[in-house]
Symmetry: C2
Subunit: 67 residues, 2 copies
């Protein structure tokens, strides 16, 4: 499944790396791509292994708000 | 010696950490404090061991411009 999340507060390449890194660490996430300019985070994941709530929590743990 | 540098482009806590970390790695730097809101980086250092040019280069290597 592919889903785009709206994330507030990503301001630089470090932020991008921390969000993508946190998502990629989750079992079931196949691809994560964060766009700092738009705040969009595109995630491809296996719904049998991980859900949208877990994706959001992983991002929030890095200190960013998910809309 | 204490010196305040003007740094462009620090936007978040990761930026602060990367600038301070790069400065603290230099022999002769006693203290480094970056303020993301103002762009001011305050450095206390031993002039016998390190000079302002080396401080600026360390910051620039992290991807920020020093005025």
């Amino acid at each position: 499944m592919e889903k785009t999340l709206d994330v507030q507060g990503m301001s630089c390449g470090h932020c991008k790396a921390s969000v993508e890194g946190a998502l990629n660490k989750l079992d079931g996430v196949e691809e994560a791509e964060a766009n700092v300019a738009t705040g969009k985070v595109n995630v491809t994941f296996d719904e049998a292994k991980v859900n949208e709530q877990a994706l959001k929590e992983a991002i929030e743990e890095q200190g960013y708000d998910v809309q």
